[in-house]
């Protein structure tokens, strides 16, 4: 059973959840494992771990570079699942994996779902899998109790929001603005209207990602959404040899969570 549903239920009337991203095996296996734990300790509610792919079309330069380095450091899907299972012994918070479809397809959908659940993973986020292509993966994940997150964006028509909502479980990943991952200076002024539109057509928790890089932006988005996803800003700190957990702590307190 995924830990996402109970977590969002628990936070519902209190505050938005902080979802912190890191690329598995970046800069190496050991560091990414300890940084993941440190971010959870610093106040992240969920850890999202990227399983690096050779051709990450949805990612901007920062996460692309981290994926490339992680592959050089020996990252494989099985290796990242191993990392998940070790983290699972140390935390009860939800753990997500973000990856591209070919890696899951090649692994075998059922086998991946089974191994991921056994490792203690709660959900899969696959950015190149739109709702209409999700059936095979979802059918493999449901019996394993693994959530499949779907994406909606400002260009998504209302009928498709419903389709995505039906295909998804856990939460809807709301792409805050058009473009690959990367830090942006300001939160799109389209965001409130966009989230309102999504809420009209979905009962799932809504988490907003792409471009969020500061505690101030977190607070702003946290007032509108059920979850805030932070990626590139944290990966960049790690790439620069700094500790991302300090930013995680700031963001968590901006959201009104643990400090």
């Amino acid at each position: 059973m995924s830990r996402l549903g109970p977590m969002f239920e628990d936070l519902k009337e209190k505050r938005a959840a902080l979802i912190a991203y890191e690329t598995g095996f970046f800069p190496d296996l050991e560091t990414s494992e300890s940084v993941g734990l440190a971010m959870l300790d610093a106040g992240a509610d969920v850890l999202e771990i990227g399983i690096p792919f050779s051709d990450p079309v949805m990612d901007g330069p920062v996460i692309q570079a981290s994926s490339h380095a992680a592959l050089e450091a020996g990252a494989t899907p099985a290796g990242v699942l191993g990392m998940v299972s070790r983290l699972r012994r140390k935390t009860d918070k939800p753990l997500l994996a973000m990856t591209y479809y070919n890696l899951v397809y090649r692994y075998g959908l059922e086998r991946f779902a089974a191994d991921a659940t056994a490792a203690g993973l709660d959900a899969l986020v696959v950015p190149d899998l739109p709702a209409e292509e999700m059936d095979p993966l979802r059918e493999a994940c449901i019996p394993a109790g693994l959530d499949t997150v779907a994406f909606v964006s400002p260009t998504t028509e209302p009928s498709r929001i419903e389709e995505a909502s039906a295909a998804a479980s856990g939460f809807l990943y709301c792409v805050a603005l058009l473009g690959p991952t990367g830090e942006r200076d300001s939160v799109s002024n389209e965001l409130p209207g966009f989230l309102e539109r999504v809420r009209e057509h979905s009962d799932l928790p809504l988490a907003v990602g792409l471009g969020i890089s500061s505690a101030r932006q977190c607070a702003e988005v946290g007032r509108l959404a059920d979850g805030v996803i932070v990626g590139s800003a944290l990966v960049r700190m790690l790439a620069e040899g700094r500790d991302p957990e300090s930013l995680v702590a700031e963001m968590a307190s901006a959201l009104g969570g643990q400090t």
Binding site: P56, N102, Y105, V175, L178
Partner: protein, 399 residues
């Protein structure tokens, strides 16, 4: 599988699938753009004014129909089948790529989009795209891997001369696949104002269908020309396969009608990872650039690097409809090595006075091996997809 389904690009209940191949494996922000593209494409194709404009440009600007040339010297020297060359090398800009870019850029105008982006490997698609954009007054940005920029310098200059911005891609293997990744990232960002002019029958639905339809002019002309000249259909059709557009364009009107269809992939320098570009011959099904199709990948699904002496065949994927043709035995796919392709380029230059693009030389090499084995009563049509001017430096070094 009925031919009607082949025409619509949809097989079974799932839109955009060729058997189990194809689909739309793209980030959600692009779905609305793909829907819009499909809608506008269908209405453009049903619009007599649009078709007349496109046909006019293909005739007066691109130089169609291209000849179906009986290569007598080559056929005599080989001593077997009568070999015909479909002369796409005589198209404006020097390859078949212009058939697709005129259609797509005109479609972009029809859709009210003034910014065109494209990827390019050899630079032929980039040049063809920059040309069509210049003609139609559109802004054009072409993504090109650094490695390809170095080996296709003259095409980079041609694009710039045409008013196009060439953006170097430094990620991954710095070749065609990375240029497509970068173009897709641009498209995700600027999807409301920009048309992505994909250069082959690859990518998410509806691209494989649109590019096939725009390139099918090659096969339709060849069918008519061969019938007029020989009084019948050819026995074999041969074309090189990178993403698969010149081959699909040649094959399509002949599918299921008798002729053997042979696609020739890059055999490179060996059969190990990184030594070739034979996606159909040596790959496995996988998802790259928005479609499920044969793919060169490692055990866990990372896309592997490829190699070919010809930049246009240096690509780990292939159009989904080719995967379907292969799976159903409707076409066969073979590989030709770098060396054999280089030899074939020299051979065609000597016997016919035609210097082929190194991509097309792969198809010539297959014809050289195969024609002597079959009788003079057989007719073989080879797609000469482009001319070799861009490859002169490589030919100089290697021959």
């Amino acid at each position: 599988m009925s031919t009607e389904r082949i025409e619509t690009g949809t097989r079974g209940a799932r839109r955009g699938y060729y058997g189990g191949f194809g689909g739309r494996f793209v980030p959600e922000p692009l779905i609305a753009a793909l829907d819009e593209l499909e809608r506008e494409y269908r209405s453009a194709m049903a619009d007599a004014g649009f078709r007349a404009r496109l046909d006019g440009l293909l005739a007066d600007y691109a130089g169609r129909p291209t000849p179906l040339y009986y290569a007598e010297g080559m056929s005599r020297e080989l001593g077997g089948a009568r070999v015909y060359l479909k002369r796409e090398d005589l198209c404006h800009t020097g390859s078949h790529k212009i058939n697709n870019t005129l259609g797509q850029c005109l479609l972009a105008s029809f859709m009210g989009k003034r910014r065109i982006i494209a990827e390019t490997g050899a630079g032929q698609h980039g040049v063809a795209c920059a040309t069509a954009a210049a003609l139609l007054g559109q802004e054009c940005v072409v993504y090109m891997g650094e490695v390809d920029i170095a080996r296709q310098a003259s095409n980079v200059f041609r694009m710039e001369l045409l008013g196009c911005e060439v953006r170097p891609v430094v990620s991954g293997s710095r070749t065609l696949k990375d240029a497509i990744n970068e173009a897709m990232r641009d498209w995700v960002t600027n999807v409301r104002t920009t048309h992505y002019c994909l250069g082959s029958v690859v990518g998410p639905h509806p691209f494989p269908e649109i590019v096939r339809e725009l390139q099918s002019v090659i096969g339709r002309e060849a069918l008519e020309q061969c019938t007029a000249r020989e009084g019948r259909l050819p026995d074999a059709l041969v074309a090189c396969v990178g993403g698969g557009s010149n081959s699909m364009g040649l094959f399509h009107p002949f599918i299921g009608r008798g002729p053997r269809l042979v696609g020739v992939e890059a055999g490179g320098i060996g059969s190990g990872h990184g030594e070739h570009g034979s996606s159909l011959g040596l790959g496995d099904p996988g998802v790259l650039h928005g479609a499920l199709s044969y793919l060169l990948q490692d055990d866990v699904g990372q896309v592997t690097e490829t190699h070919s002496v010809s930049a246009g065949l240096d690509y780990p994927g292939v159009g989904p409809e080719h995967s379907w043709l292969k799976e159903n035995g409707l076409a066969t796919y073979v590989s030709v090595s770098d060396d054999k392709a280089l030899d074939a380029a020299g051979f065609l230059a000597r016997t016919e006075g035609i210097i082929p693009a190194l991509e097309s030389a792969h198809a010539i090499a297959y014809a050289m091996a195969e024609a002597p084995r079959i009788g003079a009563d057989e007719v073989m049509v080879v797609c000469l997809s482009g001319r070799g001017d861009k490859d002169i430096e490589t030919l100089k070094e290697r021959l």
